[in-house]
């Protein structure tokens, strides 16, 4: 049986890549925010990167149900939080309450759990972090 965790990431990726490809956030000279699973060294800002995935069994209604929490990070060197906030907002428009089609199993719900913005210790790079919870039934 293939990994439902990765199926969730692929389904999210299928929605997120086109949604962010057309986004021109403040400070960007052309539309398009790349989305990485493994960001290459020296990637141009802004970009979005998948982070940690946590699967927790949630078998109240069905034996194998689980919640997959996926972290999505935004990196930006735009002065101030506006660019990060715009990208987080586009991600929320795309993913919160979205219907995900999984290659294996079924996604019951996709909800935004938490979104934060923060600044790196360098005082220049702004980061956004959002956690989405997907209730899955394998």
């Amino acid at each position: 049986m293939s990994s439902i965790d990765f199926a969730v990431q692929k389904a999210i990726d299928a929605l997120l890549v086109p949604a962010l490809a057309s986004l021109q956030a403040p400070g960007m000279s052309a539309p398009g925010v790349p989305v990485y699973d493994h960001a290459p060294a020296g990637s141009a800002y802004p970009y979005v990167r998948y982070g940690r995935k946590i699967k927790t069994p949630d078998n109240l209604l069905a034996e194998k149900m689980a919640r997959v929490q996926l972290s999505i990070s935004v990196f930006s060197n735009f002065r101030g939080q506006e660019q990060v906030d715009e990208i987080l907002a586009r991600i929320e428009d795309t993913l919160d309450d979205a219907s995900l089609t999984l290659a294996t199993g079924e996604a019951v719900r996709c909800d935004l759990e938490r979104a934060d913005t923060t600044i790196d210790a360098d005082g220049v790079t702004y980061m956004g972090s959002a956690i989405y919870t997907v209730l899955v039934n394998p």
């Binding site: 060294a41 020296g42 982070g51 940690r52 972290s71 759990e113 938490r114 790196d120 005082g123 972090s129």
Partner: protein
């Protein structure tokens, strides 16, 4: 002048009802916060183990009387200075860090006048993805607690309706 008779009495009853619910879940609030503490320690990535030890330190979880009502206030965090010093890096684990190319400058603290100091990077530093451990554990705690709170509301309301409010 128009008004609704008995509104103050209804408000007082609702207040008593919520106080009764709060008292009935006091133990759950403490137990669920302890469960969150355990979950953060299980989820946090470990290198030397200093961050995990700080999360499990008894000073990180305190129970005090609630200033808002008859319940308790449970405080869980790394706000105690000795813990904050041991576990400051957990912020970067939770939110991730940017990468650095060779030759770029990296923040290296502050000088005596409070100005940022920078040092040149000799070897590239890869960006670190966010590895959240706190927010997922907190979200799971609220989800469990909300379920228990709703159940306590239902049970308390049912007992009152049946005239069994004083029985456990």
């Amino acid at each position: 002048m128009s008004g609704i008779e008995g509104i103050e009495e209804l408000k007082a009853k609702l207040k008593r009802f919520e106080d009764a619910v709060a008292l009935s879940i006091n133990g759950d609030v403490i137990a669920e916060t302890q469960a969150m503490q355990k979950e953060t320690a299980e989820l946090v990535p470990v290198d030397s183990g200093a961050g995990r030890e700080a999360l499990l330190d008894p000073q990180s979880l305190r129970v005090v009387k609630s200033p808002d009502g008859p319940g308790v206030r449970v405080l869980f965090g790394l706000d105690v200075p000795s813990l904050a010093k041991r576990a400051f890096h957990l912020f970067f684990v939770e939110f991730g860090t940017k990468g650095y190319m060779k030759g770029s400058e990296r923040h290296a603290g502050f000088d005596k006048k409070g100005r940022r100091r920078w040092r040149k990077i000799k070897k590239p530093v890869p960006p670190r993805p966010a590895q959240p451990f706190w927010r997922p554990a907190e979200a799971n705690m609220w989800r469990r607690l909300e379920t228990k709170l709703n159940m306590a509301r239902i049970v308390t309301a049912a007992k009152r309706a049946a005239g069994l409010a004083d029985q456990s």
